[in-house]
Protein backbone atom coordinates (compact mmCIF):
# COMPACT_ATOMS: atom_id res chain seq x y z
CA UNK A 1 0.00 0.00 0.00
CA UNK A 2 2.99 2.30 0.54
CA UNK A 3 3.64 3.28 -3.04
CA UNK A 4 2.60 2.42 -6.51
CA UNK A 5 5.47 -0.04 -7.00
CA UNK A 6 8.04 0.92 -9.59
CA UNK A 7 7.79 -1.22 -12.68
CA UNK A 8 10.57 -1.40 -15.25
CA UNK A 9 10.60 -3.09 -18.64
CA UNK A 10 13.92 -3.78 -20.32
CA UNK A 11 14.10 -4.09 -24.09
CA UNK A 12 16.57 -3.58 -26.89
CA UNK A 13 16.41 -1.30 -29.93
CA UNK A 14 18.70 -1.36 -32.95
CA UNK A 15 20.99 1.66 -32.69
CA UNK A 16 21.32 4.22 -35.51
CA UNK A 17 24.80 2.93 -36.46
CA UNK A 18 24.87 -0.68 -35.40
CA UNK A 19 25.39 -0.70 -31.61
CA UNK A 20 22.06 -1.68 -29.99
CA UNK A 21 20.32 0.52 -27.41
CA UNK A 22 19.16 -1.01 -24.12
CA UNK A 23 15.90 0.65 -23.04
CA UNK A 24 14.67 0.86 -19.42
CA UNK A 25 11.02 1.92 -19.37
CA UNK A 26 9.96 2.97 -15.89
CA UNK A 27 6.38 3.28 -14.69
CA UNK A 28 4.66 3.87 -11.35
CA UNK A 29 6.59 5.78 -8.68
CA UNK A 30 10.34 6.26 -8.25
CA UNK A 31 11.02 6.67 -4.52
CA UNK A 32 13.22 5.24 -1.76
CA UNK A 33 11.33 1.97 -2.32
CA UNK A 34 12.65 1.72 -5.89
CA UNK A 35 16.22 0.57 -5.22
CA UNK A 36 15.74 -2.87 -6.80
CA UNK A 37 13.78 -1.51 -9.73
CA UNK A 38 16.37 1.15 -10.55
CA UNK A 39 19.78 -0.07 -9.37
CA UNK A 40 18.91 -3.77 -9.40
CA UNK A 41 17.68 -3.58 -12.98
CA UNK A 42 20.65 -1.49 -14.07
CA UNK A 43 23.13 -3.89 -12.47
CA UNK A 44 21.55 -6.91 -14.14
CA UNK A 45 22.09 -5.54 -17.65
CA UNK A 46 24.59 -7.50 -19.73
CA UNK A 47 28.08 -5.98 -19.47
CA UNK A 48 28.07 -5.28 -23.22
CA UNK A 49 25.28 -2.71 -22.89
CA UNK A 50 27.02 0.50 -23.86
CA UNK A 51 24.02 2.66 -24.78
CA UNK A 52 21.23 2.97 -22.27
CA UNK A 53 17.96 4.80 -22.83
CA UNK A 54 15.79 5.79 -19.85
CA UNK A 55 12.07 6.22 -20.56
CA UNK A 56 10.33 8.15 -17.77
CA UNK A 57 7.10 8.84 -19.67
CA UNK A 58 4.93 6.61 -17.47
CA UNK A 59 6.37 7.66 -14.12
CA UNK A 60 3.61 9.13 -11.99
CA UNK A 61 5.56 10.36 -8.98
CA UNK A 62 9.23 10.98 -8.38
CA UNK A 63 10.84 12.33 -5.22
CA UNK A 64 14.34 13.27 -4.11
CA UNK A 65 15.08 9.76 -2.81
CA UNK A 66 14.10 8.41 -6.23
CA UNK A 67 16.29 10.99 -7.92
CA UNK A 68 19.17 9.85 -5.67
CA UNK A 69 18.78 6.36 -7.16
CA UNK A 70 18.93 7.79 -10.68
CA UNK A 71 22.11 9.63 -9.68
CA UNK A 72 23.65 6.41 -8.38
CA UNK A 73 22.82 4.70 -11.66
CA UNK A 74 24.38 7.53 -13.65
CA UNK A 75 27.47 7.37 -11.44
CA UNK A 76 27.91 3.64 -12.07
CA UNK A 77 27.25 4.09 -15.79
CA UNK A 78 29.86 6.85 -15.95
CA UNK A 79 32.43 4.53 -14.39
CA UNK A 80 31.51 1.74 -16.82
CA UNK A 81 31.87 4.07 -19.81
CA UNK A 82 28.21 3.71 -20.77
CA UNK A 83 26.29 6.48 -22.43
CA UNK A 84 22.82 7.30 -21.06
CA UNK A 85 20.07 9.32 -22.76
CA UNK A 86 16.67 10.08 -21.20
CA UNK A 87 13.22 11.19 -22.29
CA UNK A 88 9.62 11.38 -21.10
CA UNK A 89 9.97 13.59 -18.02
CA UNK A 90 7.20 16.16 -17.50
CA UNK A 91 8.25 19.82 -17.81
CA UNK A 92 8.17 20.04 -13.99
CA UNK A 93 10.58 17.14 -13.51
CA UNK A 94 12.78 18.37 -16.35
CA UNK A 95 13.10 21.53 -14.28
CA UNK A 96 13.81 19.56 -11.10
CA UNK A 97 16.49 17.40 -12.82
CA UNK A 98 18.06 20.57 -14.18
CA UNK A 99 18.05 22.25 -10.73
CA UNK A 100 19.84 19.28 -9.24
CA UNK A 101 22.40 19.23 -12.06
CA UNK A 102 21.57 15.80 -13.50
CA UNK A 103 21.49 17.30 -16.98
CA UNK A 104 25.30 17.37 -16.86
CA UNK A 105 25.25 13.56 -16.81
CA UNK A 106 22.30 12.63 -19.03
CA UNK A 107 20.49 14.71 -21.64
CA UNK A 108 16.71 15.03 -21.28
CA UNK A 109 15.17 14.68 -24.71
CA UNK A 110 11.67 15.66 -25.82
CA UNK A 111 10.89 12.19 -27.20
CA UNK A 112 12.24 8.72 -27.89
CA UNK A 113 13.37 9.46 -31.45
CA UNK A 114 15.42 12.47 -30.36
CA UNK A 115 16.92 10.47 -27.49
CA UNK A 116 17.93 7.58 -29.77
CA UNK A 117 19.44 9.93 -32.33
CA UNK A 118 21.67 11.41 -29.62
CA UNK A 119 23.77 8.27 -29.13
CA UNK A 120 27.00 8.68 -31.04
Amino acid sequence: MQDKATRVKVSELPGPNGTPITVLRFSGDITSASKDAVLGTYQSLPPGAKRILLDFSNVEYLNSSGIALVIQMLMQAGKAGQSIQSFGLSPHFQKVFTMVGITNYTKLHPDEAAACAAFD
Binding site: M1, Q2, D3, T31, S32, A33, Y61, N63, S64, S65, I67, A68, L69, I71, Q72, L74, M75, G78, S90, P91, H92, V96, M99, V100, G101, I102, N104, Y105
Partner: protein, 148 residues
Protein backbone atom coordinates in the same frame (compact mmCIF):
# COMPACT_ATOMS: atom_id res chain seq x y z
CA UNK B 1 -3.89 22.46 16.67
CA UNK B 2 -3.72 25.88 15.09
CA UNK B 3 -6.17 28.67 16.00
CA UNK B 4 -9.56 28.19 14.33
CA UNK B 5 -8.82 30.65 11.58
CA UNK B 6 -11.44 30.39 8.86
CA UNK B 7 -8.84 30.45 6.14
CA UNK B 8 -6.86 27.53 7.48
CA UNK B 9 -6.95 23.93 6.32
CA UNK B 10 -5.28 21.35 8.53
CA UNK B 11 -4.23 17.82 7.71
CA UNK B 12 -2.76 15.14 9.96
CA UNK B 13 -1.04 12.10 8.48
CA UNK B 14 0.64 8.97 9.83
CA UNK B 15 4.43 8.87 9.34
CA UNK B 16 4.26 6.26 6.64
CA UNK B 17 6.14 6.74 3.36
CA UNK B 18 3.65 7.15 0.56
CA UNK B 19 1.24 9.27 2.64
CA UNK B 20 3.13 12.39 1.58
CA UNK B 21 1.05 12.03 -1.58
CA UNK B 22 -2.08 12.81 0.43
CA UNK B 23 -0.50 16.06 1.64
CA UNK B 24 0.67 16.80 -1.88
CA UNK B 25 -2.84 16.45 -3.26
CA UNK B 26 -4.50 18.33 -0.41
CA UNK B 27 -2.10 21.23 -0.91
CA UNK B 28 -2.67 21.09 -4.67
CA UNK B 29 -6.46 21.30 -4.17
CA UNK B 30 -6.16 24.34 -1.94
CA UNK B 31 -3.76 26.01 -4.39
CA UNK B 32 -6.12 25.24 -7.26
CA UNK B 33 -9.07 26.82 -5.37
CA UNK B 34 -6.89 29.90 -4.89
CA UNK B 35 -6.20 30.12 -8.62
CA UNK B 36 -2.53 29.14 -8.79
CA UNK B 37 -1.27 27.99 -12.19
CA UNK B 38 -0.67 24.30 -12.78
CA UNK B 39 3.11 24.74 -12.96
CA UNK B 40 3.20 26.55 -9.59
CA UNK B 41 1.03 23.76 -8.22
CA UNK B 42 3.59 21.20 -9.43
CA UNK B 43 6.33 23.15 -7.63
CA UNK B 44 4.26 23.23 -4.45
CA UNK B 45 3.47 19.50 -4.66
CA UNK B 46 7.13 18.53 -4.84
CA UNK B 47 8.06 20.92 -2.01
CA UNK B 48 5.27 19.68 0.27
CA UNK B 49 6.08 16.03 -0.46
CA UNK B 50 9.76 16.56 0.37
CA UNK B 51 8.92 18.35 3.62
CA UNK B 52 6.54 15.56 4.66
CA UNK B 53 9.08 12.85 3.87
CA UNK B 54 11.65 14.71 6.00
CA UNK B 55 9.21 14.93 8.93
CA UNK B 56 8.42 11.23 8.61
CA UNK B 57 12.05 10.09 8.18
CA UNK B 58 14.09 12.51 10.25
CA UNK B 59 11.50 13.97 12.65
CA UNK B 60 9.61 10.78 13.45
CA UNK B 61 12.09 8.03 12.40
CA UNK B 62 9.16 6.47 10.51
CA UNK B 63 7.23 5.79 13.74
CA UNK B 64 3.78 5.50 12.13
CA UNK B 65 1.98 6.37 15.32
CA UNK B 66 3.38 9.91 15.18
CA UNK B 67 1.41 12.32 13.02
CA UNK B 68 2.81 14.82 10.58
CA UNK B 69 0.72 17.97 10.71
CA UNK B 70 0.25 20.09 7.62
CA UNK B 71 -1.26 23.54 8.17
CA UNK B 72 -2.31 25.46 5.07
CA UNK B 73 -2.99 29.17 5.62
CA UNK B 74 -4.71 31.02 2.83
CA UNK B 75 -4.51 34.77 2.32
CA UNK B 76 -5.51 36.85 -0.68
CA UNK B 77 -2.02 36.77 -2.16
CA UNK B 78 -0.27 33.73 -0.82
CA UNK B 79 -0.47 30.22 0.48
CA UNK B 80 1.64 29.25 3.48
CA UNK B 81 2.18 25.57 4.20
CA UNK B 82 3.68 24.48 7.50
CA UNK B 83 4.76 20.84 7.71
CA UNK B 84 5.33 19.98 11.36
CA UNK B 85 6.63 17.05 13.34
CA UNK B 86 7.43 16.20 16.94
CA UNK B 87 11.17 15.80 16.41
CA UNK B 88 13.97 18.25 17.28
CA UNK B 89 14.03 19.89 13.84
CA UNK B 90 16.94 20.53 11.51
CA UNK B 91 20.23 20.73 13.47
CA UNK B 92 22.92 23.10 12.26
CA UNK B 93 23.58 24.12 8.68
CA UNK B 94 22.64 21.74 5.91
CA UNK B 95 25.17 21.72 3.03
CA UNK B 96 24.02 22.58 -0.47
CA UNK B 97 24.13 19.36 -2.49
CA UNK B 98 27.03 19.10 -4.91
CA UNK B 99 26.31 16.74 -7.75
CA UNK B 100 29.97 16.42 -8.75
CA UNK B 101 30.81 15.17 -5.28
CA UNK B 102 27.83 12.83 -5.40
CA UNK B 103 29.00 11.49 -8.77
CA UNK B 104 32.49 10.89 -7.48
CA UNK B 105 31.07 9.13 -4.44
CA UNK B 106 32.47 11.71 -1.99
CA UNK B 107 28.98 12.82 -0.91
CA UNK B 108 25.81 10.79 -0.24
CA UNK B 109 23.49 10.65 -3.26
CA UNK B 110 20.69 11.79 -0.90
CA UNK B 111 20.40 15.27 0.62
CA UNK B 112 18.49 17.13 -2.08
CA UNK B 113 15.10 17.60 -0.40
CA UNK B 114 15.73 20.91 1.36
CA UNK B 115 17.57 22.25 -1.67
CA UNK B 116 14.58 21.44 -3.87
CA UNK B 117 12.13 22.96 -1.40
CA UNK B 118 14.13 26.22 -1.30
CA UNK B 119 14.43 26.26 -5.08
CA UNK B 120 10.74 25.60 -5.78
CA UNK B 121 8.87 27.91 -3.39
CA UNK B 122 9.01 31.69 -2.86
CA UNK B 123 9.90 31.50 0.84
CA UNK B 124 11.20 28.59 2.91
CA UNK B 125 12.35 28.42 6.49
CA UNK B 126 12.81 25.74 9.12
CA UNK B 127 11.63 26.26 12.69
CA UNK B 128 12.90 23.95 15.43
CA UNK B 129 10.69 23.02 18.37
CA UNK B 130 8.20 25.88 17.95
CA UNK B 131 4.60 25.92 19.24
CA UNK B 132 3.53 23.41 16.54
CA UNK B 133 6.67 21.30 16.90
CA UNK B 134 9.45 21.49 14.34
CA UNK B 135 8.19 22.84 11.05
CA UNK B 136 9.22 23.50 7.50
CA UNK B 137 7.39 26.69 6.53
CA UNK B 138 6.85 27.19 2.79
CA UNK B 139 5.14 30.12 1.08
CA UNK B 140 4.09 30.62 -2.52
CA UNK B 141 2.77 33.95 -3.78
CA UNK B 142 -0.11 34.29 -6.20
CA UNK B 143 1.63 37.15 -7.97
CA UNK B 144 5.36 36.77 -7.69
CA UNK B 145 6.98 39.74 -5.95
CA UNK B 146 8.58 42.29 -8.34
CA UNK B 147 12.10 41.69 -7.14
CA UNK B 148 12.07 38.09 -8.36
Amino acid sequence: MEANNSSTVELRLPSRLGYEKVAMNTAASVARLMGFSEDRIEDLKTAVAEACINSMEHGHKLDESLKVEVILSITDNSLEVKVCDEGPGVQGKVPVPNLELKMSGEESPRGMGMFLIKSLVDEAEWISSGPNGSCARLVIHLHKPEEE
